[in-house]
Symmetry: C2
Subunit: 223 residues, 2 copies
DNA sequence: ACGCTCTTGTGCACCGGTTCACATGGCACT
DNA sequence: AGTGCCATGTGAACCGGTGCACAAGAGCGT
């Protein structure tokens, strides 16, 4: 996958869990807890305790044997790893139902990803104000990126416009993209893209459901 | 993970790719293509060709050597595996920004997952009509599930209400849940739950970005 | 009918990730 | 200071998944 290797690299699976730990730690900090063991953090994150310890060992976040980890320390450590606690403005391409919802989603701002720009191809949508931001034409994407200093792009267009949207984002200098359009898009290998496919998620659930109900026998349960 | 094993089980990784194949195949069918090789399907889905062949072998979807796979046949085969092409009505708990966007999302209906019911805890929201459906109080969830014959639940509540929402869904008989709330929730092991965490996705992107820009050297590129 | 070409189907080696189990070592209490 | 307890940190086995590479086999042209 990533082939930098200059600085110590953290396994992808670990990186994917760090935000979950972060959430759990924030909760603990809110309730005044100062120390946490790998076991309780694991419970909070829904993973195995040994896994937590191994994950944290990648961050050089040392705990104290017999005691646990310092919550505040861990928080800071994880924040540094996940983008240096620097704010990363986001530009959204495609202001349909999903784009609007995303632009209003509090979780992004709280996580250090303020929605700084909105663009759309539809002239009916351009010019409207959504979540405090005026929607600008997709042709001006490069300007929007430059002005807002956006570093992350979200694609929330229909599937058939996704590739073009991604191309424009890359053209505008964006190197991190989150794609909600149900389409496989190609990007240069210096661009990091993640796919979030809502319909696919339901279909995966559908498989297991079908499997369960299609199975005439229900005497399993196992635990 | 899943421990049924009565009928032949398909690896999770394969199941996750089937919807992508399905999309690609629909595209091909639309353009009148009747046969497809594992190589072109792989390209369409953004995966390795051998992987495609191995995936399809799990479905007993035989291709013809030297020729490829029949598009229509494959389509039918995958649809059967992913829930028997039966429609699975969905009930959404939490009709905020995200819940509204999801209830209007075309992709769900197209994939056989019509939004059949909406519930919310906020009396201000209850009674309103969203995407053609009246929002009902969360207390009536069991009724809504029964009336709509919903088999899938989507949780789009704030994090602190997620566990309760999930509990209610399980109570109402739902066994397949898609959770958009940024919270780890516990479910009985006969319930299948998938997590879609928007902020987490951005944070993962943030890690790689930080890593890239934090690295003073940029002489890599590799391809 | 024969052989060539093309694509499927799969055995096998490799790789990342997970989990167990245990040694290591700090802290508290006496 | 000594002793016991407890949680960390990690070596090593295990497991699922991926991708190469090749044999098997279908169709087509001659």
């Amino acid at each position: 996958m990533s082939e930098v290797g200059t600085i110590e690299s953290i396994p992808d699976a670990t990186v994917a869990r760090l935000p979950v730990y972060l959430r759990g730690l924030l909760e603990l900090a809110d309730t005044g807890v100062e120390m946490v063991s790998s076991v309780s953090l694991a419970e909070l994150a829904g993973v195995n305790a040994a896994n937590v310890r191994k994950d944290l060992s990648y961050l050089h976040a040392h705990g104290t044997r017999g005691v646990g980890y310092e919550v505040g320390h861990l928080l800071a450590e994880i924040r540094v790893v996940l983008g240096g606690s620097r704010s990363s403005p986001v530009v959204i391409v495609g202001v349909g139902n999903l784009g609007r919802a995303l632009s209003r989603y509090d979780g992004f701002l709280a996580g250090g990803f303020p929605i700084a720009g909105l663009v759309d191809a539809d002239p009916m949508v351009v010019g409207r104000k959504v979540a405090g931001t005026v929607v600008r034409p997709v042709g001006e994407l490069a300007d929007v990126v430059a002005q807002t200093e956006a570093t992350v792009g979200i694609v929330a267009t229909p599937a058939n416009a996704a590739q073009e949207a991604v191309d424009r984002l890359v053209q505008a200098g964006i190197r991190s993209i989150l794609n909600f359009a149900p389409a496989v898009v190609a990007v240069p290998n210096f661009v990091d893209i993640r796919q979030v496919d809502l319909a696919t998620e339901l279909q995966i659930l559908g498989y297991h459901q079908h499997r369960r109900t299609g199975d005439s026998d229900t005497s399993l349960v196992s635990g």
